[in-house]
């Protein structure tokens, strides 16, 4: 019961019910499609970068499970207005938090909604649901190649 409450915290459920930054982005400078053929999570991430490379706007669309929807929603909030360097750091932290067996090396308490996803680690079958949004963001920033969870490593 505790485990399940960790996974489906109010924060996750709220992001699932009312995803932030949802919709297609007009004038996007980059976009990518992410797909998890095992469970059917299917999302699009749109970014707009200014001349300095800063992501000044971001959005996503798609049909996905609660974990993927919430994680992607939280991702858009975490990276909006951030520089590429800041985003790379954030993405590395997110993937560390979601996939590492060790405790995160950064302070979860300072991470707000972002930290709500830490419970996913107890559910190995669901980790790919939670990382899909981040991988798709990465692709949207790097040219937009489709992300397929069954083609990537681990």
């Amino acid at each position: 019961m505790d485990d399940l409450s960790d996974l489906y915290q109010d924060i996750i459920l709220s992001h699932n019910k009312r995803p932030r930054n949802q919709g297609e982005l007009e004038n996007a400078t980059g976009s990518a499609e992410g797909y998890n053929p095992l469970c059917g999570d299917h999302i699009h991430v749109y970014v707009h970068q200014d001349d300095s490379g800063k992501v000044d706007d971001i959005s996503f669309t798609g049909k996905a499970c609660a974990i993927c929807t919430a994680s992607t929603s939280i991702m858009t909030e975490a990276v909006k207005g951030k520089s590429r360097e800041e985003i790379d750091t954030k993405a590395a932290e997110a993937l560390e938090m979601l996939t590492s067996k060790e405790e995160p090396t950064f302070d979860l308490l300072e991470q707000g909604d972002f930290a709500a996803l830490a419970g996913v680690r107890q559910f190995p079958a669901r980790i790919k649901c939670a990382t899909l949004g981040w991988h798709t963001l990465e692709s949207a920033l790097k040219g937009g190649e489709m992300v397929n969870t069954e083609k990537e490593e681990g």
């Binding site: 053929p37 049909k63 996905a64």
Partner: protein, 413 residues
């Protein structure tokens, strides 16, 4: 409680069903993923165990005692299975790894050998990927054309629409006896008859049908029937391609190697007849013997008893799930048109979230596209949650499933 005419509860024959799953002390296992694979009774486990402890040897090539005994046991398993499925001769039973390999064998050695560009193969919208992809690969390689027979909104075959896919160009119909994703029982005999009117050969995917005692190849009238042992309380890695003997004997080998040859020389190799022609290399001997034991076990339970128990579970689960607000059951509206499989979606929760929540309650179901993505596209959904019941499940298992569904609603509203 279940009013059983049988005093013996088959659940007691399946040791895994008494374990718990999950972290800490866990929860008693409620196994409702039987359409993916069935659990194994002690009789099968002990048969395979005894083979490796006391009887193991390679077959068909030894002059020694153990090898001759193992060969006998392997051949007896083939005879046992031939009898169980209504084959006219054991040589019609080819041992393969499973349904997937059986269909690939037919695609390669039968269709690949004799079909011409423009020839047509009819499949349906409800097929498992195992009965789609081999034909797509063949189409790419040879220029044969796939025709997709439509299904109704309730996931059933409309025989008129099915018939309209056929023409003089149709060389093969390949369809499932029972939908793995929905549980629909197809009118397989009528479908075979339609294909035969057009002179087409027929392969029936029996992966799901076999578990519910629906195999009688003599009555079915098809040319090939494919199934997996693990779906019928047997071991995994063993399955059967049944084929008409005259067709099998006219087909070229599927793989080359030992045991399938009549004579090998530097210039020329000749091949044995079926089934050995298609069983290159050392086969899954213990698997075949275990599968024979699975049919022995099911005979001892009785197929009527299997069907009676499963139908009772389906009736109870269908009624209870139908009462849940926001829960939609896909597939036939009448339980008389389906096996004990309930595929469902919930308004508030994605199938994977349903699966995770049920898992924490010890309830194992399947969530996803069930290797039937064209069917999911037809319903415009990414996937479903699927609870599939076997004769060894209890009404209590349905109650635990319902408790889990109530919990899903609690989390997701």
């Amino acid at each position: 409680m279940t009013a059983s005419v049988s005093s013996h509860d088959p659940r007691a024959d399946f040791p895994i069903l008494s374990r718990s799953v999950g972290s800490g002390a866990g929860k008693p296992l409620v196994y409702l993923d039987n359409a993916a694979t069935t659990q194994k009774p002690m009789h099968v486990i002990e048969t395979v165990d005894r083979f490796y402890r006391h009887e193991n040897a390679n077959i068909h090539r030894g002059v020694h005692y153990l090898s001759m005994n193992a060969t006998d046991a392997y051949d007896r398993a083939r005879e046992r299975i031939a009898q169980a499925i209504g084959a006219s001769h054991p040589a019609e039973v080819v041992f393969v790894r499973g349904t997937t390999e059986a269909i690939n064998l037919v695609a390669s050695s039968f269709a690949g050998d004799r079909f011409q560009p423009g020839d047509e193969i009819v499949i349906t919208m409800m097929e498992h990927h195992a009965n789609i992809v081999p034909w797509q690969l063949l189409a790419k390689k040879t220029g044969v054309v796939l025709k997709w027979a439509p299904i109704t909104d309730t996931g059933e075959i409309d025989l008129d629409a099915f018939r309209s896919c056929f023409s003089e160009k149709t060389k093969l119909a390949a369809f499932t006896q029972v939908s793995n994703a929905l549980g629909t029982i197809n009118p397989a005999r009528e479908m075979v008859a339609i294909a035969k009117e057009f002179g087409a050969h027929v392969l029936v995917d029996g992966a799901q049908g076999v578990a519910h005692g629906m195999v009688n190849v003599a009555e079915l009238g098809a040319d090939f029937y494919a199934f997996s042992g693990h779906k019928v309380v047997g071991p995994d890695g063993i399955g059967v391609l049944w084929g008409r003997r005259e067709l099998l004997d006219a087909m070229p080998p599927y793989q080359g190697g030992g045991d399938m040859i009549a004579r090998v020389s530097i210039e020329k190799t000749t091949f044995r007849e079926s089934p050995e022609r298609f069983e290159a290399g050392t086969p899954n001997i213990s698997g075949a013997i275990g599968l024979g034991a699975a049919f022995d076990y099911l005979d001892s339970v009785g197929w009527d008893e299997v069907r009676r128990r499963e139908h009772e579970l389906l009736e109870y689960a269908f009624a209870r799930m139908s009462e849940v607000d926001g829960l939609r059951i896909l597939g036939p509206a009448s339980i008389d048109d389906k096996v004990s499989v309930i595929s469902f979606t919930m308004d508030s929760a994605h199938p994977h979230d349903i699966g995770t929540i049920l898992d924490t309650e010890g309830v194992a179901i399947r969530a996803g596209h069930h290797c039937a993505q064209p069917l999911m596209d037809f319903y415009q959904i990414a996937g479903t949650a699927r609870a599939s019941f076997s004769f060894y499940n209890h009404r209590d298992d349905v109650d635990r499933l319902m408790d889990g569904i109530a919990k899903v609603k609690k989390f997701f509203g």
